[in-house]
C-alpha cells in the first residue's frame, strides 16, 4: 500500500504497457485470471468467424469443392492455382487490380500531401474545409459509385455537359463507363475523389506534430519553401506517410464495391476480388475461387511485411 501511495505523486506519465506491476501478488494473480476472462469472448469470436474460415479457405483452395454438389470433395493439389495461371480473365483481373492500386494510391498520396499542406496553414474557414473533406469518406461506396455513374452518364450527365456544352473541350459526349478505354480511369477517378480527402486528413495529423520553429530556423538559414519541403517536411512526415500508404494500398488491392457497382463483372475492369466472388458464388467453383482469394491474401500479406519493414527501418 505504502509503495503505491509513494509512487503516485510522481509527475511522470505512466509509460504505456508498464509500471502497473504492483508488488501485491494476490492482485497480480487476480489480474492475470481476469485478463484471460476478459480476452476470451473476443478471441472466441475472432477464431470462430475469422480465423477458422480463413484456414478453411486455404484448405478449400486445394480441393475441387463445389457448392450444392453431391460429388465427393477431393484434394487436387495445386490444380486450382495452375488453372488460375492459365486463365486469361484471372490474369487481366490481376492487371486491373495492379493498375488500380498503383494509380489510385500514387495520385491520392501526391494530392493528399498537397491538400494537407494547404489546410495546414492557419486561415479563417479551415474548419469548414476539414468538415467538407470528411463528406466523401462518410458517403457509402455504393452510393458514391451510383452518384458518379449518374454524373458520368453519356447523354445527360453533368461531366459531359460541362466538357462538351459549357467549356467545349470535347466535341462529343464520351461514354466514360461503358467505353473500355476510359472505364478503368473513370473508376480510379471516383476512388481518388473518395479517398484523397481522407489521406489528406491522416497526413495533416502528421504535419501538425512538426514543430514550427524548425521552419523558422530554416528560413533564417535562407532555405527556400521548396527546399524546406524536401529537406524538412517530407522526412518528418515519412512515418505518417508510410502508415497512410499501408492502409491505402491494402484497401486498394482488395477493391470490390466501386468497380462492381459501376461495371459488375465486366471484363474490361474486373478486379481480383470480383473474380474471386464471381468464381465462388455465382459459378459455384468454391475451390478455384478460394484459390483466387488466397492469392489476394498473400499479396496483401506480402505488402504488409514489406511496409512494416520500412516502418521499422524508419523508427530505428
Amino acid at each position: 500500500m505504502t509503495q503505491g501511495v509513494a509512487t503516485a505523486p510522481l509527475p511522470q506519465p505512466a509509460k504505456p504497457g508498464r509500471s502497473y506491476d504492483l508488488p501485491q501478488s494476490g492482485w497480480m494473480k487476480a489480474r492475470e485470471r481476469l485478463a484471460w476472462l476478459l480476452v476470451a469472448p473476443s478471441i472466441l469470436v475472432v477464431v470462430l468467424v475469422a480465423l477458422y474460415p480463413l484456414l478453411q479457405s486455404f484448405r478449400l483452395s486445394f480441393t475441387n469443392a463445389r457448392f450444392g454438389s453431391t460429388r465427393p470433395e477431393l484434394y487436387v493439389g495445386f490444380d486450382n492455382y495452375a488453372r488460375l495461371a492459365q486463365d486469361n480473365v484471372f490474369i487481366s483481373a490481376l492487371g486491373h487490380t495492379l493498375v488500380f492500386t498503383v494509380a489510385s494510391v500514387a495520385i491520392e498520396t501526391i494530392l493528399g500531401i498537397a491538400v494537407a499542406l494547404i489546410i495546414n496553414s492557419n486561415f479563417n474557414g479551415r474548419g469548414v474545409v476539414r468538415t467538407s473533406m470528411l463528406i466523401p469518406w462518410a458517403i457509402p461506396t455504393v452510393v458514391s459509385s451510383q452518384l458518379w455513374r449518374f454524373m458520368y452518364n453519356q447523354d445527360n450527365g453533368v461531366i459531359n455537359d460541362v466538357l462538351v456544352n459549357r467549356l467545349g473541350i470535347l466535341s462529343s459526349p464520351v461514354a466514360w463507363i461503358a467505353n473500355p478505354s476510359t472505364s478503368l480511369s473513370a473508376i480510379i477517378a471516383v476512388d481518388v475523389w473518395k479517398t484523397t480527402p481522407f489521406m489528406a486528413l491522416l497526413l495533416l495529423a502528421g504535419l501538425q506534430i512538426i514543430p514550427g520553429d524548425v521552419y523558422e530556423a530554416a528560413t533564417v538559414d535562407g532555405a527556400s519553401k521548396w527546399q524546406q519541403f524536401w529537406q524538412i517536411t517530407l522526412p518528418l512526415l515519412k512515418p505518417a506517410l508510410l502508415v497512410a500508404l499501408i492502409f491505402r494500398t491494402l484497401d486498394a488491392f482488395r477493391v470490390f464495391d466501386v468497380v462492381f457497382v459501376m461495371k459488375g463483372a465486366a471484363l474490361d475492369t474486373i478486379t481480383l476480388a470480383i473474380y474471386a466472388r464471381q468464381t465462388m458464388i455465382d459459378e459455384q467453383y468454391l475451390g478455384r475461387g478460394a484459390a483466387a482469394s488466397v492469392v489476394i491474401f498473400f499479396c496483401i500479406a506480402l505488402l504488409v511485411i514489406v511496409y512494416s519493414r520500412l516502418v521499422r527501418v524508419e523508427e530505428t
Partner: protein, 300 residues
C-alpha cells in the same frame, strides 16, 4: 512594416502575424491562388453529394435533358414519395438499422472487455493475442467470403440478419479492441491503485472507474463501427437475397440493363435518404471521428 522584417524575432506566432501583414504584389497573388485552391477543394469534395441532392428534387423531365438543367424550376418530391412508399426499400432500411446497431453493441460489449485486458493488464500470452487481433484488422474480407458463405448456408442463416451481424464482427471487433486498447493504455497509471486502496477487485476497478472514463472512446469507436457496418456491401450482397437485404445492395441493384432504363430519380432519392444520417453524424462528431481514425491508423 519594413522594420518588422528587419527585427523579426525567431518565434513562430509573431513571424506568422508579421508575414500576413505584408501586402506586396507577390503576396496578394499568393493569397488569391491560395483561396482559389481552398474553394476548389470544398467544391470538389462536396459537389457530387450536393448534385445528387439537387437532382433528386428536380421535376422528372429536367433530370434527363441535354444540355443539363442546373437549377430545378420547381421542387418535386415524387421520387422521395416513391422510395418511402416502397416496401422493399423500407425493409432494407429496417434491416440495415438492426444489423448496424447490433454489430456496434456486440463489438463494444466484447471489445471493451478485451481492450481493457490488452491495454492495462499484464498476462502471459498477451503478445500472441495482440498479433492475432492486429492481423485480423488487415486481412481482406474476400479471403473468407467463400468459407463464411458455406458456414452460413450450413447453419441455416442464409438471408437472415444474424449472418450479417456475425460477418461484420470480423472487422468491427478487432478494430474496436485495437482503438480502445490504445485508449485505456493512455490513461494515468494510478487509477487502479486508487481503487485498490479502496478495496475494489480488478473487475470492479474496470467497471466503476475505467469504463466511465473511456466513454468518449466508446462513442468514437461505436460510431466508426456503425459507419463501417452501415456502408458494407460485399457480405450483404453475398449473404442476403430478400428478407435480410440491407440498403447498400438495395441501392446498387436499382441498376437496369442499359443506361436508358435506370430510374435515376429514385436511385438518387434513396441514396440521399441513406447517406444524410451519416453526413449529419459525421458533421456533429467530426472531431471525435478524426481522433479515432488517426488513432486507429497512426498507432495501428
Amino acid at each position: 512594416m519594413a522594420t518588422t522584417t528587419a527585427v523579426r524575432p525567431v518565434m513562430p506566432d509573431t513571424a506568422m502575424i508579421s508575414g500576413t501583414r505584408q501586402w506586396s504584389l507577390g503576396k496578394v497573388i499568393n493569397r488569391i491562388l491560395f483561396w482559389i485552391l481552398v474553394v476548389f477543394i470544398i467544391f470538389y469534395t462536396v459537389f457530387p453529394f450536393a448534385w445528387a441532392l439537387l437532382s433528386s428534387i428536380k421535376p422528372n423531365a429536367e433530370l434527363f435533358t441535354s444540355p443539363v438543367v442546373y437549377w430545378p424550376s420547381a421542387i418535386n418530391t415524387t421520387f422521395y414519395q416513391f422510395v418511402l412508399a416502397n416496401g422493399d426499400f423500407l425493409l432494407a432500411l429496417r434491416n440495415s438499422i438492426v444489423v448496424s446497431v447490433s454489430t456496434v453493441l456486440i463489438s463494444l460489449a466484447l471489445g471493451s472487455l478485451c481492450a481493457y485486458a490488452m491495454g492495462r493488464l499484464q498476462f502471459r500470452g498477451k503478445t500472441p493475442v495482440m498479433y492475432l487481433i492486429l492481423s485480423m484488422t488487415m486481412f481482406p474480407q474476400i479471403a473468407i467470403l467463400g468459407s463464411l458463405y458455406q458456414m452460413i448456408v450450413n447453419l441455416g442463416l442464409y438471408d437472415r440478419l444474424p449472418a450479417l451481424i456475425i460477418a461484420y464482427l470480423t472487422f468491427t471487433l478487432p478494430f474496436t479492441v485495437w482503438v480502445l486498447a490504445n485508449f485505456f493504455r493512455a490513461m494515468p497509471g494510478e487509477l487502479e491503485e486508487a481503487a485498490m486502496v479502496d478495496g475494489a477487485t480488478p473487475f470492479q476497478a474496470f467497471i466503476r472507474i475505467l469504463l466511465p472514463l473511456a466513454a468518449p472512446g466508446l462513442v468514437t469507436t461505436g460510431l466508426l463501427a456503425f459507419i463501417a457496418a452501415w456502408n458494407e456491401y460485399l457480405y450483404a450482397l453475398t449473404f442476403t437475397q430478400t428478407r435480410a437485404r440491407t440498403v447498400q445492395p438495395a441501392i446498387a441493384s436499382f441498376s437496369g440493363n442499359t443506361q436508358f432504363e435506370l430510374p435515376w430519380g429514385n436511385i438518387l432519392a434513396a441514396s440521399v435518404l441513406v447517406t444524410l444520417p451519416l453526413v449529419i453524424l459525421v458533421l456533429i462528431f467530426q472531431r471525435k471521428i478524426l481522433a479515432g481514425l488517426t488513432a486507429g491508423a497512426v498507432k495501428g
